[in-house]
Symmetry: C2
Subunit: 373 residues, 2 copies
């Protein structure tokens, strides 16, 4: 059982639910990233407490360490990392191209050496499907690759065409797995006709959901929104649309506005570990000396454990002291804020007031951080 | 209101309760160490969930960063670190002598430079009392110093005599603070007559509790137990006895057997961050490759979140991957085990079966780690 149901639309923005054997995913959904079988600095029950319905796992990292076969022998990724809700895994293609060493890309797949121990690997659509099956992923991504932007049109076109051939091979290798979904990934860079061509190829193959790939790779928000203005409508309305690797809160709001249902990004977790809190009023750099004696929470309107229990002065102190609790609290806050943002958007769409939500969201950010008394 | 009540004895071993305005401390008590206003890698509610009734805070670290006056302006240490139960603070004396730079010890106090930023400081009995008051400590320790062992008898005698003069100055500076306790610290190294002299000096001054200092500084377990065999009986039976900086599980059991009521140590937290789990069956080094595919928990009889939710294989993976969750889970397990050990000893004393408990404790450790099937 894997079923997507739209429950409300408000212009291009959509709210719905993806039902899976491991539970429902409310959309628009933000997926925290659990790269190496952990959402960094969080216990899984805490991730669930922020409101996350689904995690993202990284095929590239997990195939290298601890290895997909080992995870399978240990009962699968859910059991391994103590997370019983749905998991989406990426295909490994994007991260091989950005992280691995001595990469060699060919029609068959990508040869590379591990950035962990230098070991040799060969990742293909078929092997990616096998790894994601071994991990026990609920939502499997087709194997693809994409160039960093800007790139020449010919490069983007050739890459997209290769990814579409890999999409067919992924579909063939995935087979029929009830309760598990396979998503295709649209490519084509910033070229509208290539995006159209890619979407047509994916629809001809047929997937359970459709991702928009090749964005958030350096093109900037305006260019990304420019693509989303047309790209979502190229994809089937009755399937979830997933924008990969996005993003900042205003990226997320703009993507949902344009019809995106799912997103993932390391921003809330990575920012938390580097002392940056993301709030309704924008970013707060807790390292800044102005927080050293500030008794107020990061966001007085936030109900997360960090904002309910700790002052900015405390967060400043533990961050400057290199204490692990700084990463734990800031990550928790950031993930809580992201999930609350998604919940607010779902409610706004359900009630037909997404435009008003967006205006209020922008106005609050424009006000900036809370002033000192 | 600060009151110690003995509820049971079993030979020299004692069980009781210390009542404070911030809650009861069940004894024998193990105090996790919250050096810089955090028990490393733990949220305070998780520390409480392990069964800890009281934390230790370090005067030396907190006076340097964020500073005692700043903590006071922010509402005191309890509020600052979000821990509402009792806090005991050390006097700073021991850590100044082991961590600070350019130390200069005199009758008046210790001049030193901060290991954090090189700033100059002068710590005296009076300033130590002031800092601990500013922090809002519930149990304040008298300012003392002690040499590392082995040391010449003359050195130990002179140091003890100085600490006893400082104990009187601490008592005078502390004044009358209802609901707050001041503990004196017995010194004298491994010299029985010096321990007797020190105990007599402290009893003449009069304290709410008595610590045994100058042990666990390199003398070894046999020598430490040799001192504890007579030192506890030198201290008033109706006041809590606190053995500072101890220790390993077998140190703790041996200390309780000899009439100690309170202890603290960084071992469970520090070991957790370096991949060492402490269990009923001894230590488990999770870095060891033999755990890489072991589906069993650290300790199948442990009810902590780490043992309930995660395999050794997972802990091995996240530790080898440098993930923060490794420190979080191993620390939680270790603190849980230490608190469970204290609870088992309290029950054994209450039921007059401490000898049987001790024998079973030793037998289980002698069995070693659980064997593979």
């Amino acid at each position: 059982m894997f079923r997507f149901t739209l429950t409300a639309t408000d212009g291009p923005a959509r709210a719905g639910v993806i039902e899976t054997p491991r539970g429902a995913i409310r959309t628009p959904a933000f997926m925290p990233v659990g790269t190496a079988a952990t959402v960094k600095a969080m216990l899984p029950e805490s991730v669930a407490a922020t409101g996350a319905d689904v995690l993202l796992g990284n095929t590239y990292h997990l195939m290298l360490r601890p290895g997909a076969e080992r995870v399978a022998r240990l009962g699968g990724l859910h059991r391994f990392m103590n997370w019983e809700k749905p998991i989406l895994t990426d295909s490994g293609g994007f991260q091989v191209m950005s992280l691995a060493e001595l990469r060699k890309l060919g029609e068959e797949g990508v040869r590379f050496r591990s950035h962990v121990d230098g070991s040799a690997h060969f990742l293909t659509p078929e092997r990616s499907m096998e790894i994601q099956r071994l991990l026990g992923s609920d939502i499997v991504m087709a194997f693809d690759e994409c160039p960093a932007l800007p790139a020449p049109r010919d490069t983007i076109a050739a890459s997209m065409a290769l990814s579409m051939r890999w999409a067919q091979r992924s579909r063939d290798a995935f087979g029929d797995r009830p309760g598990h979904a396979l998503f295709g990934i649209q490519q084509g860079g910033l070229e509208r006709d290539l995006r159209e061509e890619s979407a047509a190829a994916l629809k001809a193959i047929g997937f359970d959901g459709y991702a928009i790939g090749g964005l958030a790779v350096g093109e900037g928000q305006a260019a990304m929104f420019g693509v989303l203005d047309y790209a979502t409508a190229m994809l089937p309305a009755d399937r979830p649309r997933y924008l990969m690797g996005v993003g900042k809160p205003d990226d997320i709001v703009g993507a949902v506005k344009r019809g995106v249902d799912m997103m993932d990004c390391v921003l809330p977790t990575r920012s938390g570990r580097t002392g940056q809190a993301l709030t309704r009023r924008g970013a707060v750099n807790i390292k800044n000396a102005r927080h050293a004696e500030d008794p107020r929470p990061l966001d007085p309107d936030c109900a997360c454990p960090c904002c309910r229990g700790y002052s900015r002065a405390y967060l400043h102190h533990v961050f400057k002291s290199g204490e692990i609790i700084a990463s734990m609290l800031l990550t928790w806050h950031n993930l809580h804020y992201f999930q609350e943002l998604m919940a607010e958007m779902r409610a706004a769409i359900a009630e037909g007031r997404f435009s008003a939500f967006e205006a209020a969201f922008g106005a609050r950010r424009a006000e900036g951080d809370i002033p000192r008394e």
